[in-house]
């Protein structure tokens, strides 16, 4: 009886220890996977920062202005090209009158 009990106890303890080993190695594998994901995140964060810097470099004002002037024919707006909303109607009327004068002339 006692021998059976010993064998049973031995088996239980052995299974418990085996389970601990399994749990331990599973945890280790999970931690490694987690570390790998963290490394990926860190790498992507670094890449993101590099891209932000590159974006900032490529979209700097001198480059945009050069493109806007040379390729799109844009120039800074003159003050008289701005129209307030409350003056919009009179500005349109005035523009129409000016064009009428030009056409008539």
């Amino acid at each position: 009886m006692s021998r059976v009990s010993f064998i049973f106890a031995f088996t239980v303890v052995a299974l418990l220890i085996f389970s601990l080993y399994r749990a331990k190695y599973n945890a280790r594998e999970t931690a490694e996977a987690f570390a790998s994901i963290e490394a990926d995140i860190a790498r992507e964060e670094r890449r993101h920062l590099e891209l932000l810097a590159e974006f900032s470099h490529l979209s700097r004002q001198e480059k945009i202005e050069e493109y806007a002037r040379a390729e799109l024919g844009m120039v800074p707006a003159r003050p008289d090209q701005f129209v307030r909303l409350d003056q919009f109607q009179s500005a349109v009327t005035r523009l129409a009158m000016d064009r009428g004068v030009e056409d008539g002339g």
């Binding site: 006692s2 010993f6 106890a9 031995f10 303890v13 052995a14 418990l16 220890i17 601990l20 080993y21 749990a23 331990k24 945890a27 280790r28 931690a31 490694e32 987690f34 570390a35 963290e38 490394a39 995140i41 860190a42 790498r43 964060e45 670094r46 890449r47 920062l49 590099e50 932000l52 810097a53 590159e54 900032s56 470099h57 700097r60 004002q61 001198e62 202005e65 800074p76 707006a77 003159r78 003050p79 008289d80 701005f82 307030r84 409350d86 003056q87 919009f88 109607q89 009179s90 005035r94």
Partner: protein, 554 residues
Amino acid sequence: MAVEIPWLSVDGAEDGSMNTRLVSMGLLLVFSVLAICGGRLALEPSSASVSVRSETGIVNRRADIVDRNGRLLATSVTLYSLRGNPQDMMNGALVADELVTIFPELDRDALVRRLSDKSKRDVSIKAGLTPRQRQQVFELGLEGIMFEEEFGRAYPNKELAGHVLGFVGNEGNGLDGVEYKFNDRLLAGGAPLVLSLDANVQYVLETDLAAAVGDYNAQAGAGVVMATDTGEVLAMASWPPIDPNQYSDIAAADPRKLNRVVRAVYELGSVFKPLTIAAALDASIIRPDDVFDVSGPYRVNGTLISDTHAFSGAITVSEIVSASSNIGTAKIASQLGRAALDQSFSAYGLFSPSAIELGGSEAPVLPKTPSQISTATMSYGHGISVTPMAFLGAYAALANAGESVTPTLLHEPEREVGGDRVMSSRTAELVMSMLRKTVTNGTATLADVPGYLVAGKTGTAEKPLPTGGYSETENISSFAAIFPSDRPQYAVLILLDSPNAHLETGRSAAATAVPTTAKIISRIAPMLGVQPRFEPRLQAGVPASVISSERSEL
């Protein structure tokens, strides 16, 4: 042959009991050891749980610097230094030729010599490679090439705001500009440092200042744009410009390293006149419609004070400002007295370095001893040298209803603003109207940008010579503007050092700094949300009342 082991025998009852006990104890011991091992295994920390984020430097990286709209001005990136081992190279010249295709700035012959020296095992080829450049080199498949990861501070906009940003040394500490001033804050990492600068306004200021230096063949230039209610500096430029990416490669004495806005002092000349007039108005020594005989000659202790353009008789205080009369301003300063003038200038902040958050702000150079002649000259900006930043800080009080303005490079919307009262709001209002008149009818008519109601004052000061006295051919031309004059929001100062324009246009501020400022205001005002305002156009045959009613119906 069987081997008898007495203590394992189970023949006798006594022996059997003893043996059972011994076996039990043995098994117990074994199980205990196994259980302890299992427990230790279960409880010991896992080596794989160490975070890699800190190892990559992402967590504790130096904080970024951005402008008021979040545009990136400075950031920390991983760079690489390129090294070579000549002992691992079959042909150093071939490697050098390949590298020069990617880095044409490398000295090919010197590189061939170094990479062919078989006595060396580690040769530095180039530092500061970007990840993309590293990949390009990697794809060449060269032998004996190594990369070393290093810290790198990048300024993606190159020269933009270079003097303000400063730079970071090899050890990762800021050594100039805001990189130096806010080093601890930036080293702590975290959220970006938000500057008050507006990258678009900064760009306009820098490009138009550079254009003016070229157009007028000036030796140097400086410019500042500031919000007059908060003191936030929206743009600060010094010419020649500097690229912070190359800061450490430039010699200390190189003129590019000098931020003329805060580290150089100038006798700014007539731009001081409105401040003298404000002091006298505030002390009730004069009234705007008082008249002064400025026909000259006017001598102070034997020294002749004159005007560039002679006046025939008496003019009002307002005209003294708009027409820029030295004699008139000196006479007013004489009535005010030196003590009161000093007290006012000190309250305006002209007697101390600017409080702007940049290291090394220069202190003003003041007359050594108070005298009648120094009082007279100081009143129109001679014999007193200040930094452009200190002057604009003082000048901004005129636009801020008489309250002092503390310039700042930080954008802090929650910050409480509100300076000390250094002059009455009525005085500030009166001087503002004189400055507007200077633009509409005085020495700065070229600054009358349609719609933006610019007010301002010119300054053309003879340049002091290192040997004493003043140059007859070189001057400091400046224009201090405020706009819009009816609801002041922004102050602009443009300074050109020794403009040497064509003879027909002249070298005075009216012909150099004024049109430059006008061009800048016309470009930055829309960016700043200032709406142009025009008086209704009178059309032939249409009474003004009709136009007025037309507007009121809309």
